[in-house]
Symmetry: C2
Subunit: 338 residues, 2 copies
DNA sequence: AAACCGTCTTGAATCGATTCATTCAAGAAC
DNA sequence: GTTCTTGAATGAATCGATTCAAGACGGTTT
């Protein structure tokens, strides 16, 4: 019968009639302890229901076993997929991942970075929202490195893992033109998000090359509901003014548009074709499956975590690297009439 | 210019020419410190870039400022919404929420509970997967209480926040019958998940009352891909054997079914009507919007966190309570022909 | 001037696991 | 029989913030 709360290392040592050092060794370097003492200690641990106090452990040893991850929006499946990839790598390194949500709010972002510093996490994976690069540099100088996720590092001060959003934007627009669009539009915002900016720029360049105009619908966020509203707005335009194809800055927006068009009696893709970005699972699961620009979501998380562990383990000799994946078009029904 | 890594409390005290106790007071009870010392201390903190060491803090004070939350599947938007609600309440209490993902794996579930114990979290929010109730009781006896989320506590040993899944199941089936189904089916599993079991039972009872048979398609999980496969399987049935309506145990399954039916040329709802469960955002955003049984997702998370804080704060006099929300039908196009 | 009071401030003791220099035992080498 | 070597075990010192009993200070009252 395990007993009450709060057995500590010394209690275990007393019960097993060994020193505290030996108990600690059983916990951390079990092969350096003789068989019979080891078994005695393990039995004592079991009997007392001893659970090691992580605070004491990391205070003394000076290092925690955790990473912090700060994403723009936990409700966006893109980010939970990235987080999943990162979590798997963290687990391999026997670290845990603390997942936090800045919710596109600069204040929350700062608050969570405070928290990560206080907790002395070993490193941070972050999709930045506000102006945090300076702060991240400072943290790195104090021993908490970070890796930028889904965002190319504009300096050589950080590792980053991202996709080539400009190329992705161009791919999307080329595709729309190739299925016959002559009045394409871009929907997305805010343009302070680098991802949005880049996707737009890629699309705008491609449109210029193709000799078609690109209409712009700027939005304050990238949520479903926003897509719905923009969709309603477009649906009310005269058909010769209405875009015949839309490139949305992410899939949530795109799905909102899709639903709005369906509700307003517009046919997709005949009246309006749609391309999204991210290729979240729900894109293909939608009953008019959505054409999207696919990012290797889990892989992004995995690589980011690997780079972070490189920097953590290897502090002095570490060279920052920028991993850039090329996103791929996945053409589905929302742009392809059958 | 903030200096190097690792300024500690004593450094701050030295620079501000006060004692460590005073610095600690500035941090924790600022109103008990005179104005000029307080400003001196704050200036020193600023100058040194001091960040308090949470490990040391919680070792000495004996308490952390964090909750653990363990969900079945972070990739399911239902759970991220619940987590969001919980996180907001945690934030109000100046606690942070450590979000972890058991991924419907009993081993991971145990591992994360180990972690939470070692970290001495103040409490745990959990959607149990394996047999963990005994363990949770033991943890509570040692001072780490937990609240069951999306799962009715079968004992009076815990607080819980859930919805009435039996009623929800009945509502779903009644609705299908009311729109004309005579050959409804239930899709879901594993039945070791209480939620699945209850939703099925409610539906089965309702079917019996209505005098229709209820076909059962049992699944090993509740993911999209599974729904797609079951959908393909159903689509290949002869039309007089094929269910004319499906109640899926959650929305991800339902959306998989929806997509499969569309791909196989079955019309929804004319050939097959579909009801899901959870009413995640993507349910309504699907281009044939999905009828679903709605749960107050964020509210579930909020109430669960509130109950947990009640128990944390109020340890001796705490009475466990079961909050049960009644889920609501949200009828959309997947069951209503226009 | 002594006694008293409330408000600030002080600093040594403390939380619990880890570390590491030191001790010990037993076998190997000479 | 003595000295070395090796592997295991020991336990006091340590990590950094918090706590709290005790002290300092300034002002009031008697």
């Amino acid at each position: 019968m395990p007993s009450g709360p709060g057995a500590k290392l010394t209690d275990v040592a007393a019960l097993a009639r060994v020193s505290v050092g030996t108990v600690s060794n059983v916990l951390n370097r079990p092969d350096q302890v003789s068989f019979d003492k080891r078994t005695r200690v393990l039995a004592a641990i079991e009997e007392l229901g001893f659970v090691r106090n992580e605070s004491a452990r990391s205070l003394r040893s000076g290092s925690t076993r955790s990473l912090g991850m700060l994403v723009l929006d936990v409700r966006n499946p893109f980010f939970t997929d990235v987080a999943l990839g990162a979590e798997n790598v963290a687990e391999d390194h026997k670290h845990s991942l603390i997942l936090a949500n800045s919710a596109e709010d600069a204040g929350r972002e700062q608050a969570y970075l405070d928290l990560f510093e206080q907790q002395r996490v070993q490193g941070v994976l972050i999709t930045p929202f506000g102006q945090v690069l300076q702060r991240l540099e400072r943290m790195r100088d104090r021993g908490i490195p970070s890796v930028l996720v889904d965002r190319l590092a504009s300096t050589d001060q950080f590792c980053s893992v991202s996709v080539d959003d400009v190329a992705g934007g161009a791919t999307a627009l080329d595709h729309l033109v190739s299925v016959g669009s002559v009045r394409p539009a871009f929907v997305g915002g805010p343009f302070t998000l680098q991802q949005v900016e880049d996707r737009y720029r890629g699309a705008a360049d491609a449109a210029a090359r193709a000799g078609v105009p690109l209409q712009l619908f700027e939005t304050p966020d990238l949520k479903f509901e926003r897509g719905r509203r923009i969709g309603d707005l477009m649906s009310n335009l005269q058909s010769d003014k209405r875009p015949d194809a839309v490139f949305a800055a992410n899939d949530q927006l795109a799905l909102g548009l899709l639903q709005s068009f369906a509700a307003n009696g517009l046919r997709v893709p005949e009246d309006v074709a749609i391309v999204g970005f991210d290729d979240i699972d729900f894109a293909s699961q939608s009953s008019i499956p959505l054409t999207s620009i696919s990012q290797p979501r889990q892989l992004i998380g995995e690589r980011a975590a690997q780079l972070l562990f490189d920097e953590i383990d290897d502090e002095p000799g570490h060279v920052h690297s920028q991993v850039v994946f090329t996103p791929e078009l996945v053409a589905r029904q929302s742009t392809l009439r059958r």
